[in-house]
């Protein structure tokens, strides 16, 4: 429905202009701020590309683990967090392992958007 270029493509182009054309024109004291702007644009671009699929997959798993009784992303995450605080998964190995798997997936999905370089530096592709 939207015209091209896409939002992520515009963000990528704008970031390139900022870093390669505008940055040399900026005084050195503005470089850090410009890099922060570029970093923000990169996060927004990656989030726009990855969309809602990773979160939906994790929510589906949470529903399997925690059962019904919660609604929406905040509801499931909140219940999961409360259960973890209470040690609710510590009694049985399969559920405990499943909970840990979800924690890994949740964290890796967030970092794929927020800081893929950090993921790579820690041995994750």
């Amino acid at each position: 429905m939207r015209d091209l270029p896409t939002g992520p493509a515009l963000l990528a182009l704008a970031r390139d202009v900022l870093l390669n054309e505008l940055m040399p024109l900026l005084p050195p004291m503005a470089h850090l701020e410009a890099r922060l702007v570029a970093n923000s644009m990169a996060i927004a671009e990656r989030e726009a590309i990855s969309g809602a699929a990773p979160a939906q997959g994790i929510l589906h798993e949470l529903e399997e683990l925690c059962g019904e009784g919660s609604e929406g992303e905040q509801g499931f995450l909140g219940r999961f967090a409360r259960d973890l605080r209470a040690g609710a998964f510590e009694e049985g190995e399969p559920r405990e392992r499943h909970a840990r798997e979800i924690l890994w997936r949740l964290t890796i999905a967030k970092l794929r958007d927020a800081n893929p370089r950090f993921l790579n530096a820690n041995g994750f592709s």
């Binding site: 996060i43 967090a81 392992r97 840990r100 798997e101 924690l103 964290t107 800081n115």
Partner: protein, 360 residues
């Protein structure tokens, strides 16, 4: 570190603007505190790097008294919004004085004031030390590489000196008793923060639960810097010129500072160098043990390293809150909130090292 030469500018006309009035008030304060006949502020420049406090480079020309001549100072005061856990400036000044007296390499503390008519908020001054605290530069600069193990050892010795300060201390009576700031209280604080945070953080809850079930036996408390890390010390070449930023200091387990220094969140460009991104743990631990005469207990360090990642995650979220809730328009603070997930990855890697394959 007094410099030479004369004032860079002509005397200002007092009372014409708010800034002029502030400079005049500061000059009067410095004159009274230093026993000078007159002080002229020749430069007042904000310094970058203080996410929670404001630091100003102050150049002053002092006429008369023990500090006569050109003086290069730092004035430290609070940012518009801050982190609740940090000390006030007058208290931080007292901690800095205690560290200086204990032989820790710190910028010499000079004068403090809680008179709001000078800078609008409490502040203190200290001598300005040379060098850089830029963590990415320190951890990336290949010219520093050969000296970094030596610097790590020196930092271990400095930390041991900090830990010679022990309660009770009348001059530090404002610090909360150790039993009120130990791990159980920190855990309660983390949970209280998360309870008020709009977004659930399951990994932090999982990590905090681990902490709760693995609290080490109590130990004799010492003064902990509580933010002893790369980025909070100054290097002039390969010379350590000052341990900075004492605003989180308090009584605690000495391993708390060791775990914080070694935690991954403070390794910057060199995640493989476990002691602050500058060296292996061995020279850092060796320096600490040699100065303190006490062995480092790796199990206690591990506990505090897990806690460090959780604490850093909470601080990252609090920094972001300053933008999201406090309205402080600052992109750096806003982006810091995204770093909480980096800490969460480290918590998983520490506590579930075999879980990578199944979770990735």
């Amino acid at each position: 570190m007094a410099g030479t030469g004369s004032p860079r500018s002509e005397p200002r006309v007092a009372g014409t603007t708010g800034e002029d009035r502030r400079l005049e008030a500061l000059a009067r304060f410095l004159a009274e505190a230093s026993g000078a006949a007159r002080v002229e502020i020749t430069g007042l420049t904000p310094l970058r790097g203080g996410a929670i406090q404001e630091n100003w480079a102050v150049d002053a020309y002092i006429s008369g008294g023990a500090f006569a001549g050109e003086q290069r100072l730092v004035l430290r005061t609070a940012a518009p919004t801050g982190v609740a856990a940090s000390l006030g400036r007058i208290e931080e000044f007292a901690v800095l004085e205690a560290a200086f007296a204990a032989g820790v390499t710190v910028p010499e503390p000079l004068w403090a004031s809680d008179n709001l008519e000078i800078m609008g908020k409490p502040f203190f001054t200290m001598r300005r030390v040379e060098g850089t605290a830029a963590a990415h530069r320190i951890t990336r600069d290949p010219a520093l590489d050969p000296a970094l193990p030596m610097i790590a050892g020196r930092l271990g010795r400095e930390l041991a000196r900090i830990h010679t300060i022990r309660p009770p201390r009348a001059d530090l009576a404002f610090l909360a008793p150790h039993e009120k700031v130990g791990p159980a209280h920190q855990i309660a604080g983390f949970r209280a923060y998360l309870d008020g945070h709009p977004t659930p953080r399951p990994v932090l809850e999982w990590g905090i639960r681990w902490l709760e079930t693995h609290i080490p036996p109590p130990t004799d408390p010492v003064l902990c810097h509580h933010d002893f890390r790369t980025g909070n010390y100054m290097l002039d070449g390969i010379a350590l010129t000052g341990i900075l930023d004492w605003e989180f200091s308090g009584w605690g387990d000495p391993h708390e500072d060791i775990g914080w220094f070694c935690s991954k969140g403070w390794r910057f460009a060199r995640l493989d160098r476990e002691a602050g991104g500058i060296a292996d743990r061995a020279p850092f631990y060796y320096g600490y043990e040699k100065e303190s005469g006490r062995p480092v207990d790796p199990r206690r360090v591990f506990f505090w390293e897990v806690l460090a990642s959780i604490r850093w995650a909470v601080i990252a979220l609090q920094q972001s809150d300053r933008y999201m809730i406090g309205g402080e328009r600052n992109l750096d603070l806003a982006l810091t909130g995204r770093r909480a997930s980096e800490c969460e990855l480290e918590i998983l890697m520490l506590l579930d090292p075999g879980g990578v394959a199944s979770g990735a």
